[in-house]
């Protein structure tokens, strides 16, 4: 595996009227890896994807995909990429198969080639049974899969996934994660945008955090978690009377940090890794403290931003979100 950069963006800027969507974004992705672009709504994630996929031209800065400039060699770039937008971008009046075959024809796969590729993709994405149904009748998860399949018709080297799991229920989300992992094991490079640290952590080799059109952090998931405080273990004892004893145990699990009651009846404590869960379970069981809730959380996006940018920017973010 070489460490060749297949996506390289330097100083991307884009204004829409008075709105500064991007104010100088740098990105770098090595071939065969996944970059997670993490940020809240309105941070500029979609604008980045639209520039890299040649749908928008930047006001300043430049970007190259597989060595081709996204503005000057747009046509070459388009032969290298697959794009899956935030909203399903297939034709709802066509069947799943017709959609995939249309894109096959447009990508010069020929009639037989398009048909073969469509069959492969329908099978891979578990849509064979629905292949001849109009896409309008698909469920949200199916449509998302068809949309992703459509972006893979030309077997692109670089795949852009703009919030691939937004609006999907948790089990469908895991399915989508598996697909992304398969893509990478097949040698593709993936740039995915997400609002969930959990998702970036599950999939990405590196994470770029953007806010207000600027990169505010770039790191591996481990590095980022070290900065923003890693995992939190939450426990709700069945009996409120057990709270003090449970708190003592949790403090031990986290090697000394005092447990806080973050909500009524729920204790939380920062922990180093997953093994804390097992430890907590066995100690609580030994102390005969029944619990109704036990969970391990990554910091939420809000907490990530709170840590990275401080409270001031956090308030600003909420204004943007409104």
């Amino acid at each position: 595996m070489t460490s060749e950069l297949i996506i390289e963006a330097v100083g991307l800027q884009k204004h829409f009227g008075a709105t500064k969507a991007l104010q100088g974004v740098d990105l770098a992705v090595r071939r065969g890896t996944v970059l997670g672009v993490l940020g809240p709504n309105g941070a500029g994630k979609t604008t980045v994807v639209r520039i890299l996929s040649t749908l928008l031209t930047p006001d300043a800065g430049s970007a190259r995909i597989a060595g081709y400039d996204v503005v000057r060699d747009a046509e070459k770039v388009r032969q290298k990429i697959g794009l899956t937008g935030q909203y399903a971008s297939v034709d709802e009046d066509l069947t799943g198969r017709q959609n995939l075959e249309l894109f096959g024809t447009l990508l010069e796969l020929g009639r037989a080639g398009s048909r073969k590729r469509a069959t492969e993709l329908l099978e891979w994405f578990d849509l064979s049974d629905a292949a001849n149904r109009v896409a309008k009748t698909y469920s949200g998860g199916m449509r998302r899969r068809l949309d992703l399949a459509a972006s893979l018709v030309g077997s692109p080297d670089v795949i852009f996934l703009d919030e691939p799991t937004t609006g999907l229920d948790p089990s469908k989300r895991e399915d989508m994660w598996d697909v992304v992992r398969q893509l990478v094991s097949n040698g593709s490079t993936v740039l995915l945008t997400t609002q969930y640290l959990e998702e970036a952590d599950a999939l990405a080799d590196e994470i770029t955090v953007i806010d207000h059109g600027r990169v505010i952090a770039h790191d591996t998931p481990e590095g980022l978690k070290r900065v923003v405080g890693g995992l939190t273990l939450e426990v709700r004892p069945a009996e409120p009377g057990d709270l003090p004893r449970a708190a003592e145990i949790l403090t031990k699990v986290s090697s000394g940090t005092k447990a806080d009651e973050i909500r009524r009846g729920v204790l939380a404590v920062p922990v180093a890794d997953d093994s804390a869960m097992t430890e907590a379970v066995s100690w609580l069981a030994a102390a005969k403290i029944p619990v109704t809730e036990l969970s391990l959380h990554l910091p939420s996006l809000d907490e990530v931003f709170f840590t990275l940018t401080g409270p001031k920017s956090n308030t600003k973010k909420e204004e943007v979100a409104v």
Binding site: R50, S53, T54, L55, L56, E75, K76, R78, Q79, K80, I81, L83, G85, Y87, A88, S89, V90, D91, E92, D93, L94, Q98, L102, F103, T105, L106, L107, E108, L109, V134, D147, A150, S151, G154, S155, P156, D157, N186, G187, S188
Partner: protein, 263 residues
């Protein structure tokens, strides 16, 4: 994953092939939503019945003479209003992600628009068949010959294909589908009434006659009357073709530019 070798073929060939693939797409869409054909099926029928039987006696003395006179006019009018829907449809389509995907593919940028225009040929053939067929039921008769009449129908379809670049352009420029509809209707309505579609323009005031004389629909209707009924055809065919060329030369580049700029 091994990248498939996408062999680039000469540009014009690709444009044709991609446009046909996309025309097939809009045909499938038309097939799936037959109610979208109302403007090219029900409308000419209604107009023929209403105009022939309400105004026929008053204008021509009897309904049959007026039907002979009116049918080419109704065909021209419905073919002109039938063009509006392409602008509305494209405007709706642009809102959906499918156009983003088209733009992210290595295909000529003109292909999606060209495909939509070509796909509408079917609509124009339907409107021609319905109008002439229903006219025949009411008693309309071609008095020239089959081939001249066929040439008249072909001219109408060609006119529609060229005119449709105007609504395509408006569809790229205007924000909502409703606005496309409204704006195009405001353009087509005066064109179809201030013409020789419904009455012979000799009774109109002079300033309006001046407009009627240059109105493309007047020329289209004049050419069709000549080809269907053997009336003096003058330069109507040439003027119609000139207008067709004009629509394409002006509105196709404008539409493509607007499409490229649309974010």
């Amino acid at each position: 994953m091994v990248s498939l070798a996408i062999a680039p073929s000469p540009r014009p060939l690709r444009l044709v092939r991609h446009s046909f693939a996309l025309a097939k797409r809009s045909l499938i869409k038309t097939w799936r939503t037959p109610e979208a054909l109302i403007d090219v099926t029900l409308q000419p029928v209604l107009f023929l019945v209403l105009f022939v039987y309400i105004f026929g006696g008053a204008i021509s003395g009897n309904t049959h003479d007026y039907l002979q006179f009116l049918l080419p006019g109704i065909l021209a009018q419905t073919i002109a209003t039938g063009c509006i829907s392409i602008g509305v449809n494209l405007n709706t389509d642009m809102e959906k992600g499918i156009f983003d995907r088209f733009r992210s593919l290595p295909i000529p940028r003109a292909a999606p628009l060209l495909g939509a225009v070509l796909g509408d040929i079917v609509r124009y053939v339907i409107v021609t068949a319905v109008t002439v067929g229903f006219g025949y039921i009411l008693g309309f008769r071609v008095t020239t010959n089959f081939f001249e009449a066929l040439a008249g129908c072909a001219l109408a379809v060609l006119f529609a294909l060229c005119l449709s670049w105007m609504p395509v352009f408006v569809g790229m420029k205007v924000r909502t589908p409703g606005a496309v509809q409204g704006m195009m209707f405001a353009l087509i309505l005066p064109l179809s009434f201030a013409s020789s579609v419904f009455v012979s323009p000799t009774t109109l005031p002079g300033w309006m006659q001046a407009f009627v004389k240059v109105n493309p629909l007047t020329h289209l209707v004049g050419a069709m009357r000549g080809l269907f009924l053997g009336t003096p055809i003058g330069n109507h065919i040439w003027w119609t073709l000139a207008w067709c060329a004009g629509f394409v030369v002006v509105f196709m580049p404008l539409a493509l530019r607007a499409y490229r700029k649309k974010v």
